[in-house]
């Protein structure tokens, strides 16, 4: 869903703002760049410490394509999860409206939506399955006045068209290999996985995945403990 909406909204000339985190944020930024749009990432730390590290390539691509990185912190300051609510506040501040794709009860997306409400910005949500862990969060947002939408045109019709930007050449993210590493990272975030499990979940050529895992191992992101890979703890 993040990909679909990011793609359609970008094509309509919107600038996509997100938090550069792994997952939905990454998809939103990436898709926007791939459509030739401009995107803004609001950081939870200084410019010298892009967090998460895996998204350094993405941060660079965002700037290179006329987007922005915004930070409220000194360049040398480390990213800190304590900063993230404040980071989310800036996300809604620079935006015309907030679209919530997934909203766990205590998720960052909900925090952003809360600030948006305070700042009199529009909040949009999309339907989530009733039995998903997001259903409750979505319901709470609706009770606070969010608008449920089913397609991107419903968002476009409610925005100020003065802020639209023209599309530039789509970016083929040269580092699609990094987006694969990103996917592996997401998988390992849950728990350690055997190579076979990673291969099954990635649905890519085994050799290619093995090569990626070796790169990540050399870079110190993951470690291989007897054919089981896990994220390496940062010392």
């Amino acid at each position: 869903m993040a990909k679909k909406f990011s793609s359609e909204l970008t094509k309509n000339g919107l600038v996509i703002v997100s938090g550069l985190a792994l997952g939905i944020d990454t998809i939103a930024h990436q898709t926007c760049l791939e459509e030739g749009g401009k995107t803004i990432a609001v950081l939870g730390g200084g410019f010298h410490h892009i967090y998460p590290e895996e998204n350094t390539y993405l941060a660079q691509a965002i700037v290179k394509n006329g987007g922005l990185l915004i930070s409220q912190y000194k360049p040398e300051e480390q990213a800190n999860t304590k900063n993230f609510p404040k980071r989310n506040k800036v996300i809604s501040q620079v935006s015309q409206a907030v679209l919530v794709i997934e909203a766990g009860i205590r998720s960052g997306a909900k925090i952003t939506a809360g600030y948006a409400k305070e700042q009199n910005k529009k909040v949009f949500v999309i339907p989530n399955p009733l039995d998903s862990k997001n259903a409750k969060g979505i319901q709470q947002l609706l009770e606070k006045g969010a608008t449920m939408i089913f397609q991107s045109t419903q968002i476009m019709s409610q925005l100020d068209t003065r802020y639209l930007v023209p599309l530039t050449t789509p970016v083929k993210l040269i580092d699609t290999k990094h987006s694969e590493e990103n996917k592996i990272y997401q998988i390992l975030l849950q728990r350690p996985h055997s190579i076979n499990e990673i291969i099954q979940k990635m649905q890519d050529k085994p050799q290619q995945i093995l090569q990626k895992l070796s790169i990540m191992e050399i870079e110190g992101v993951v470690e291989n403990i007897g054919n089981i890979y896990r994220l390496k703890e940062k010392k």
């Binding site: 076979n196 050799q207 895992l213 070796s214 403990i225 007897g226 089981i228």
Partner: protein, 256 residues
């Protein structure tokens, strides 16, 4: 053929001498039976597996003396047995294939819940000492296959096709080493490695990086080069490319 006639086994297993041997002794085997020995030193399983495959199931269950005894033969491809004043040497150029569980309960890293403690897992894998691990070229995980998967006709390469690929690569290697006294990358002696395992510039960089960051031993470094040479041969590539070296790195098993 010769090994079998020494043992007097030829008469019982005549057909075996015509094809490459496949030996799979039980993990309770003694050092003498595995490595060779006795009053009139006879060849052990490793020599019976000469030019063939030695398969060891449940590797960590082997007696320590047996496991450690494999170091010399794996390195030298022959074993020397000293008994009183006699010293006998038997060839044992075999391919070692071994299996083990990821942990004592067998579920570590799978969907099922592993019940072992970190300490148990460490102790289990530590039974295979570093020097042995370093002598194993390739490790791959094999998972329990559920019934639903067994009956689902997943498309995998047929054995015939794989055999064709292996034969092709063997031919390439035989041709490359035609003036030398060995035929495969696995047997490549250290002094020839630089000459035959030529790296593309980028792969050189990756390997240097890996050597430092992953704290590889010299032996592991050489092993990765040889495995990468074989992967490059599968691609019919003269030089070892980036992707070959990266794949080879993933097959090594880290010593804990």
């Amino acid at each position: 053929m010769q090994i079998y006639s020494i043992c007097g086994k030829l008469q019982y297993e005549p057909s075996l001498s015509l094809q490459r041997p496949f030996r799979s002794p039980h993990h309770s085997i003694t050092a003498t039976a595995m490595l060779g020995g006795g009053r009139n030193p006879l060849p052990g399983e490793i020599s019976l597996a000469h030019q063939g495959v030695l398969f060891l199931d449940e590797l960590p269950e082997l007696k320590l003396a047996v496991l450690e005894g494999l170091r010399e033969p794996l390195e030298e491809r022959k074993i020397t047995i000293n008994r009183n004043l006699i010293s006998v040497s038997y060839p044992c150029n075999f391919i070692l294939v071994a299996s083990m569980n990821p942990c004592p309960c067998g579920y570590y890293g799978t969907k099922q819940q592993c019940k072992c403690t970190q300490e148990q897992i460490r102790r289990y894998s530590r039974k295979i000492s570093g020097p042995i691990i370093d002598r194993i070229d390739i490790t791959v995980p094999i998972e329990y296959i559920g019934y639903d998967k067994l009956i689902s006709s997943q498309k995998s390469e047929t054995s015939e096709k794989i055999q064709k690929r292996v034969e092709k690569v063997r031919r390439i290697q035989k041709e490359r080493y035609k003036d030398l006294k060995f035929q495969t990358n696995a047997e490549l002696e250290t002094k020839y490695i630089e000459q035959y395992c030529t790296l593309a510039r980028k792969s050189q960089k990756i390997l240097e990086n890996a050597y430092q960051k992953l704290q590889l031993t010299t032996r592991a470094y050489m092993k990765i080069l040889k495995v990468a040479r074989t992967i490059a041969d599968m691609d019919e590539s003269q030089y070892i490319q980036e992707q070959h070296i990266l794949e080879a790195i993933s097959y090594r098993r880290k010593e804990e």
